[in-house]
Symmetry: C2
Subunit: 461 residues, 2 copies
């Protein structure tokens, strides 16, 4: 039996691809390696408080992420704002300061330095061709240097440089040394601007889905029913003009076309016959992933709020660079026991720190994290009632978050192969998005684009 389309991966992009094609009447099968849908979005119960849930994967929605907002709306999912109007903290080179609003308190000279650099960076961003970064004016030169080289050349103060470096880790989950400047520019423009990606209220970290982001994938999957086959890791794809034969350990699925939605680096784990063209193979081997261990420390109450602190913090102390409050909102209409949800801080171990910390014991990681938290909100942070962590780089079917990044030379030399179909094999996933690349919004738009691409080539359903 031959289906119309087999979708590889039931993350958000794969589910959206299948959703749009199914709606048009096509016969679709979705193969997912894990025993759950959602990919890099994943929501779990709070330890000891199963009535509340935390996002151990993709979490936030921005006010201008239209594709994601529309999808949340469709399923009646509501959100609450991340920013609560209290004070945030910044710690650089031993100096801890609190501030309100979007502008970290880092001293007037450093702030002026950051301001002029953001302005220069935004001017460069404005030149990027989002559909074809390799066609950006002066692309070869921009792609021949690292983001770190740009930071060293364009910032004069050490605190200003640290601001950009920590911002880079927060956005890319890797250091500025690993990124092509062209990629940093593309990615920032794809999500509006570098500072927009760093912003809470009104920016990329604006709001959180009540009950967790994973509901999005769950709703999409529910609509697809048994078209989604879990625990079905794809090992091989035979492809040709007549269609595709996709093999999992136990299953063989035939279809006219396939949409592969897993991140490019993971496609290297699938045996294609005939082998993929050199330029496609090359792009897959030049898109490593960032590394993130997302840690949640749970406390009886959000005690930091008593001190006027929002729980948002960033700095250069220890393996944690960025912290947010992840306390769930009180459940409306809840009984007396539910009225006060536990206080939760979410701490991100990113980039090289995450790869190093992965070799520690859970106890060592927990201790390192709560020490950083205590430095921000006080010693009560040293004794969480529970601690949860999710190491995305250790996950066999993700191997790193938040997304992939391109090192120097890659966009201009092999970037064109990122979305270009190989015969009946099409590509989706947030890494292929032109708007909000690397974000859930980009996953959705990439699935919609792939569905249009495939539908245009298939006979009408």
């Amino acid at each position: 039996m031959q289906h119309d389309i087999v979708v590889v991966g039931a993350g958000v992009s794969g589910l959206v691809t299948a959703d749009r094609l199914t709606t048009q009447g096509y016969d679709v099968v979705v193969l997912e390696a894990r025993d759950r849908v959602g990919g890099r979005t994943h929501t779990v119960p709070v330890p000891d408080h199963p009535e509340y849930r935390i996002d151990v994967g993709g979490q936030w929605v921005g006010p201008d992420q239209r594709a994601l907002l529309a999808e949340l709306d469709r399923f009646g999912l509501t959100t609450h704002d991340q920013d609560d109007g209290r004070d945030a903290l910044v710690s650089l080179r031993g100096s801890l300061r609190r501030y309100r609003g979007d502008t970290p308190k880092i001293g007037a000279v450093a702030l002026a330095d950051v301001g002029q650099a953001l302005w220069r960076f935004d001017r460069l961003c404005a030149r990027v061709d989002l559909d074809a970064p390799w066609a950006t004016p002066d692309a070869v030169r921009l792609d021949a240097q690292t983001f770190e080289t740009w930071i060293r050349r364009n910032l004069r103060t050490s605190q200003g440089r640290d601001f950009f470096r920590i911002g880079c880790e927060a956005v890319f989950a890797t250091t500025s040394a690993n990124l092509s400047l062209l990629h940093a520019l593309f990615y920032s423009r794809s999500g509006t601007s570098f500072s927009h990606l760093l912003t809470t209220g009104g920016g990329a970290q604006h709001a959180v889905v009540d009950g967790g982001m994973a509901q999005l994938a769950e709703h999409l999957a529910a609509g697809l029913g048994d078209r989604v086959r879990l625990s079905s890791p794809v090992t091989a794809v035979e492809h040709g003009p007549g269609g595709v034969v996709v093999r999992t350990g136990a299953d063989v699925v035939r279809a006219r076309r396939t949409v592969v939605t897993v991140p490019p680096a993971l496609v290297a784990g699938i045996a294609f016959a005939p082998p993929l063209p050199p330029v496609r193979d090359a792009v897959q081997r030049r898109m490593p992933h960032g590394s993130v261990i997302k840690c949640h420390a749970v406390y009886p109450t959000p005690f930091w709020r008593e001190d006027g602190l929002s729980g948002e913090a960033a700095g250069d102390t220890g393996p944690v660079k960025v912290v947010f409050d992840a306390t769930p909102p009180a459940r409306s209409g809840a009984g007396p026991d539910d009225a006060s949800p536990p206080g939760i801080l979410v701490a991100f171990i990113e980039g090289a720190d995450a790869l190093e910390a992965a070799a520690w014991t859970l106890e060592q990681r927990k201790n390192a994290v709560v020490r950083v938290l205590a430095g921000y909100v006080g010693d009560r942070a040293l004794s969480p009632t529970s601690f949860n962590e999710q190491d995305w780089t250790a996950e066999e079917w993700t191997r790193g978050c938040y997304g992939a990044h391109l090192p120097p030379g890659a966009w201009t030399q092999v970037g064109r192969a990122l979305r270009e179909p190989v015969g009946v094999v099409h590509w989706a996933g947030t890494e292929t998005a032109t708007r909000w690349c690397g974000y859930i919004d980009g996953a959705i738009s990439s699935g919609e684009r792939a569905a249009r691409e495939v539908a245009a080539l298939l006979p009408e359903a």
Copy 2:
């Protein structure tokens, strides 16, 4: 039945690993995906002249490559010098010049520029810690920039910059934009110096094995007999304290330990259970390969010698940057027909050029190559009697040559995982070598190192 060691890959490093362990009495199995041994060394008959052979893969041996020289000696393999004392050619920005010796004729100012830059580069090289590049003084700064950034900063003339850029492509089969400066330094020092890697007589391209380099692997494999299993691509490795279970399509091999000798990027195509640690996975996804299409144009005679030309040429014209004479030596004691071997030029299409040219037809590539050759040695080059090409990036079980390179940030963040065993899983291959990394010599020494490493952990055979 449990063997002592299963070696994955029958390239030079895998065969040397198995050879050394077998000699010590261990029970070894070698699993090779291809239907031949040798990996990136491969020798084929000259089209229409099957009595002569050409190396379509690794070809040269340098006078200081002791591991390789010893191995050639062991099997009685002889060599002939690449340099024949005739004139070489260099073509930069429309100016074609001939010269003799090691110093290309590129104008006095450019030459002085290249000279001072090579001197600076060598001084930086001298600081590199070959065993642990991440421990090199100032490693993080050296690893945070591209080789191209260094070239732009340290060379003043456009011809001087071109010299370094073309040299980079010739050595790494990728552009200077793709390389970490620290990697360029490590790799150069690993093979003595950047200029040594570019040198013919006395340098890395000193001599060619009579009858072809592939004889090395054939001799090693002959000694191993049916321990080498061809057409056995490894798809999965289960590993634990009790040993390994290695699966191919048709076969299951159990052993106490395994030595995986395929390039790190290809390890990503093998499913490990349990999954490899994050830092090991990360290094595998940050070592893309260079890209090479090695082309041989065959002529009735080496006609360029009549003009006093050696056939060696380098320049910026078209998709071919580097050319050498690959005319085989006359066969000693040969009959009258064999007295005059055909004239052969070998032309390399490298880096982004190779990825682009891979999408052309064979006819288009041939025409582009012979046009470049004609620009060097005259119009007789336009009409070869035959044309042979080997696209290493299209090869499913290699996916690029000459070797892997590390983009910025990789050595300092994940480089330590390149050789570090994961339990009973050990790593070899030229990419793990500290001397002549990326060369056949490094493949041999890496196999010897892995064999020592494993033998020290196994009960005596």
